[in-house]
């Protein structure tokens, strides 16, 4: 049996799914299937597998991310393991020291856990609700936009710009986030819009 080929065909068009089903689809006979299951029963039987991409450099290595029911937060999935995607034509299963440690990034102590707010002149952050943060940001932005939005320049040309507000757009975000960022920023009239392409 050409295991490589059948695995590839099965995976074509299927990025996420229960890993357990992968085994059945590989076309093993019963004996082989039982044998295969016995080799890696835990990861394959109890985890969900999602195809993802390394967040770091632009090789954009394919990753397989395994998640399982969280023990600390019942009902939630928790990421338990990451490995290189062997089917990905560029990285073929490999990950470098950065990508191999990506699990530590997901569960990093330095992750921002809640919205945090720092008052003018304060020397610490305080925890706030999302609603407080978003309402306050929207208000600050509207006030500034009302003060500084320019509808027409000195020649009377319609220019619809707001030059006192800036947005730095992240280059690790998805294309879809990128487009929503563009739309929101330009919709508000921003010209100060940049990403990491220059730096």
């Amino acid at each position: 049996m050409n295991m490589e080929l059948s695995r590839r065909q099965f995976l074509a068009g299927s990025g996420a799914g229960l890993a357990g089903t992968t085994i059945a689809a590989l076309g093993f006979g019963d004996v082989e299937s039982a044998h295969a299951v016995s080799i890696r029963p835990f990861k394959l039987a109890q985890t969900k597998e999602a195809r993802s991409t390394c967040p770091y450099c632009a090789v954009s290595c394919g990753m397989v991310i395994f998640s399982a029911q969280s023990k600390s937060a019942p009902g939630k999935m928790e990421i338990v393991h990451i490995e290189g995607d062997a089917d990905h034509p560029v990285n073929r299963g490999t990950l470098c020291p950065k990508g191999s440690a990506a699990l530590d990034y997901i569960r990093s102590e330095t992750r921002v856990k809640y919205p945090m707010y720092r008052k003018p002149g304060a020397n610490k952050f305080e925890r706030v609700s999302w609603d407080f943060a978003m309402e306050r940001i929207a208000k600050l932005m509207k006030d500034d936009r009302d003060q500084n939005f320019i509808e027409k320049n000195n020649d009377g040309t319609t220019v619809n710009r707001w030059t006192t507000m800036a947005f730095l757009s992240g280059s690790s975000c998805t294309n879809e986030t990128g487009w929503l960022t563009w739309k929101v920023a330009r919709g508000l009239g921003l010209l100060q819009l940049e990403n990491q392409a220059r730096i």
Binding site: R8, G13, A16, A50, R51, S52, T53, Y56, A58, V59, K76, M77, P89, V90, N91, T94, C96, P97, K98, A102, Y105, S108, E109, R111, V112, K113, P115, Y117, G121, N123, W130, A133, M134, K139, M141, N148, E151, T158, R161, W162, T163, T164, L168, S171, S172, C173, T174, N175, E176, T177, L180, K183, R186, G187, G189, E194, Q196, A197, R198, I199
Partner: protein, 808 residues
């Protein structure tokens, strides 16, 4: 990349310069190893440091930081003066045969049209002679003294191997070996790939570094062929995609342009961009600009965009000036910016001249950071001793630090540096209280709109005009958004005979279907096809390679039109026959173009029509002579970095790049070689990604702290011991760290003088799990490339001294 990661396997020579793929792009570097192991490819590395890429190279040459153009121009001169070029390729596929009009000149390091007062050029003399038929004049014998070919020979003749050595410090024999290996690929049956990254871009003449490399590739016939190309390895995982989308001050999605004040109407914007062919029968694909622009506007404003209101053109903000990130921080520094949102961005670490950045951030009324991990920027107001010595009480900025889902907690598409758009699936719900970026943007936008609906205010019309008709407006779904990027038919599209070719509401299969009358939408024309009538092709995961040439055409979707190698028609000769069996890729089979890839050409246009392979250019050929496209001139020139250890050996009166922008007050922050005799450069470590993984435990453990890499010679000269503490300072500030004394750096002889280089990793700061350090950009100068404004991080001046370390 013009080519792709996997295509590197087809190379016969691999040249890494201005990058260090073995450490910065390890899993992509694997394809270099494959090319070496499987086809005996030769790897050469030119770098100031003997990097890990150099360690596995077949040939290594050192170079002084910031002198790449002199080195590369030396190679151009070698190819031209020894006639080691791919003549037929050069004659037919470049503008070598084009005649440059009278008035163009180059004297004393400057081109015709220089205006010293405003540090810029009138570029009108950098043009072709136009014949009575309206087309550019050519001399296919290449003998006319004003042909690009002859002008080039003359222009580059000063870059002899001796001059190259004098400027760059690369020993003549090492330089000549590089030139010789390059020349070995100018044959049509061998190919060389050039791989570069920020080591070429982060200079005040970065764009010209890359252009010079591209010229070498054109002279050798290495563009459009398997194993060739000019390949930017790039930084962030989706920096290609985000650049394609165009979240850059002057950009629209798909490399269209933002309107400016001098373009009050849609027609005035489009009229400047007609891209009429400069030669008979050329494709000049940008002629379709207006179709892409109108389809974009239809996507942005939906039904509100009508013919009567110029499809909403005037709702777009118009540019008064380009606010690249250096100008952004300058504007902030001047107190003219009140709010800043950082989305997965840590500018305090990544912008030049940290002191100025801190002062700028402190003038903001509010700062919003949305990031999965804590950034130094979000805590810029916090005192971290010598690493961030600020007084919080004096900083009045309101700061919001918002938790964002990590890469693994959301789905969507990414575009790697091979231009391949592929999908990722979410592995879990967002951790903690984090939100997805999309949800943050939707919430913010709709909240602001609601405030305007309730209270009124300025600029309501353009704000309300934006189409936001997502199924769940607060949570736009990634597939919905990708469809929007792709575009669809808004009415039944018909061909000339009235037959419906695309029914209303259907997704478009190709940007060739886009129209300029408002009957199609699609905000990102180059991606059209990714989510066409056959569904989401970014999700394709078929890794078959039918041609056996490492072309994975059914994996994801490479823009444009799923092409894996750009300009691939150039892999065949003018008659459409492959240049060689070894490099057979896309060719004419008598009825159509066919081969291992989607032709980057009209598929049924016969070779006899004579349309060139560079279909985006109105000439149909590539440009050895850049016309007016580059700020500093149509040919590259060696200019020193703004901080250089010697005066420009060729043009001693010229300091730095004569057209690079320097803000008022910034000229004074440059240091001189007298005070700061040592060249400094920055680099990345294999264990860290930018300023990000210092907040990740495993990475912080394996590479815990900042250091300064110096040569044994410099250590001896300064009395610095291995592992001893040093202070490094420039005219802008100082950093401290342990000295790593290596053989990887060597002093070089430059114009008769011994010059030392120190190297420093940039990955450290004052927030995270790694040991605290002062930001590396405390040292770097606030000047950028004249075309892209990429800061000059790779070559500046410092001094160094041993100090006693901190008391433990």
């Amino acid at each position: 990349m013009t080519n792709s990661w996997t295509d590197i396997k087809n190379a016969d020579v691999v040249w890494i310069m201005g990058g260090n793929a073995a450490e910065a792009h390890p899993c992509g570097f694997k394809w270099v190893t494959e090319a070496k192991a499987e086809r005996g490819a030769k790897l050469m590395v030119v770098d100031p440091r003997f990097t890990r890429s150099a360690a596995v190279a077949d040939h290594y040459s050192p170079i002084r930081p910031g002198t790449d153009i002199a080195f590369l121009s030396g190679v151009v001169n070698y190819l031209l003066s020894n006639d080691k070029i791919h003549k037929e390729y050069v004659r037919n596929y470049t503008n070598a045969a084009y005649i440059v009009k009278e008035g163009y000149a180059f004297n004393e390091g400057l081109f015709s049209g220089y205006n010293e007062a405003n540090r810029s050029y009138d570029r009108s003399s950098w043009e072709y002679e136009i014949g009575p038929d309206g087309f550019a004049v050519r001399d296919l014998t290449l003998e006319n003294p004003r042909s690009v070919y002859q002008l080039m020979k003359q222009h580059f003749s000063v870059y002899t191997p001796e001059t190259v050595e004098r400027i760059t410090g690369s020993p003549k024999d090492k330089f000549l070996k590089v030139a010789d290996w390059v020349a070995s690929t100018a044959t049509g049956d061998r190919a060389m790939t050039i791989m570069y990254a920020l080591g070429w871009t982060q200079h005040s003449h970065g764009a010209q570094n890359i252009r010079t490399a591209a010229m070498i590739q054109l002279l050798c016939g290495n563009i459009g062929v398997p194993g060739g190309g000019i390949n930017a390895l790039r930084g962030h995982s989706n920096v290609q995609g985000i650049t394609d989308i165009g979240t850059l001050t002057a950009s629209l999605p798909g490399y269209l342009a933002m309107p400016t004040d001098s373009e009050p109407t849609l027609e005035s914007h489009l009229g400047k961009r007609t891209f009429k062919p400069l030669q008979a029968n050329q494709t000049s694909y940008w002629q379709n600009y207006r179709k892409f622009y109108v389809s974009f506007l239809k996507g942005m404003y939906g039904e509100k965009a009508t013919k009567e209101n110029e499809f909403g053109y005037n709702w777009l903000p118009k540019l008064d000036v380009a606010y690249d990130c250096l100008r952004m921080f300058e504007t902030m520094y001047q107190g003219k910016t009140n709010g800043l949102i950082c989305q997965g961005f840590n500018p305090l670490m990544s912008i030049a001249h940290t002191k100025k950045s801190i002062a700028g951030l402190s003038k903001l009324k509010f700062l919003v950071s949305i990031d999965p991990i804590e950034t130094d920027t979000a805590r810029f107001w916090e005192n971290h001793g010598e690493y961030n010595d600020v007084d919080p009480a004096k900083i009045q900025t309101e700061v919001f630090m918002l938790p964002c889902a990590s890469f693994a907690e959301e789905e969507g598409s990414l575009t790697n540096s091979s231009r391949c758009v592929s999908w990722k699936w979410a592995a879990a719900e967002p951790y903690h209280e984090s939100w997805r970026d999309a949800d943050f943007l939707a919430d913010l936008f709709l909240r602001i709109r609601k405030l305007y609906e309730k209270d009124g205010g300025k600029g309501i019309e353009p704000l309300m005009a934006v189409d936001w008709s997502y199924k769940d407006p607060l949570h736009p779904h990634a597939e919905e958004v990708l469809k929007e990027l792709n575009g669809k038919a808004l009415v039944d599209l018909k061909d000339g005979e009235g037959k419906v070719t695309r029914a209303a509401g259907q997704q478009l299969a190709s940007f060739a279907e886009m129209r300029d009358d408002g009957s199609t939408d699609g905000v990102q024309w180059i991606y059209t096809g990714v989510f066409g009538p056959n569904g989401n092709l970014a999700q394709r995961r078929d890794n078959s390679d039918p041609s056996g040439m490492n072309v994975y055409g059914s994996w994801g979707f490479a823009w444009p039109a799923n092409r894996r190698i750009l300009y691939n028609r150039a892999s065949a000769d003018p008659d459409g026959k492959p240049w060689s069996e070894a490099k057979k890729y896309v060719f004419w089979d008598g009825a159509k173009w066919t081969g291992a890839d989607i032709p980057d050409y009209v598929p049924t246009l016969p070779p006899s029509r004579g349309a060139g392979p560079f279909i985006m250019n109105p000439e149909g050929v590539s440009r050895l002579f850049a016309r007016g496209m580059m700020a500093e001139g149509p040919f590259p020139v060696h200019y020193e970095p703004f901080e250089a250890p010697v005066a420009n050996p060729l043009f001693p009166k010229i300091k730095g790049n004569p057209v690079a922008r320097v803000f008022k007050g910034d000229m004074e922050v440059f240091g001189t070689a007298k005070e700061f005799p040592i060249v400094a450069t920055t680099y990345r470590l294999v264990e860290h990604f930018h300023y990000w993984t210092k907040g990740v435990h495993a990475n912080a453990v394996i590479q815990p702290e900042f250091f300064v890499e110096i040569s044994e010679e410099l250590a001896r000269e300064k009395g610095i011991t291995r592992g001893g503490w040093v202070r490094v300072w420039s005219n802008r500030g100082a950093v401290k760290g342990k000295a790593v004394v290596t053989k990887r750096l060597k002093p070089l002889k430059i114009d008769g003088k011994t010059v030392h280089t120190v190297g420093m990793p940039l990955n450290y700061g004052f927030i995270g799990e790694a040991k605290k350090a002062s930001p590396i950009n405390t040292l770097t100068p606030p000047v950028g490339d004249a075309n892209s404004q990429t800061p000059e991080f790779k070559a500046f001046l410092v001094d160094i001294e041993p100090i006693s370390g901190p008391v433990a």
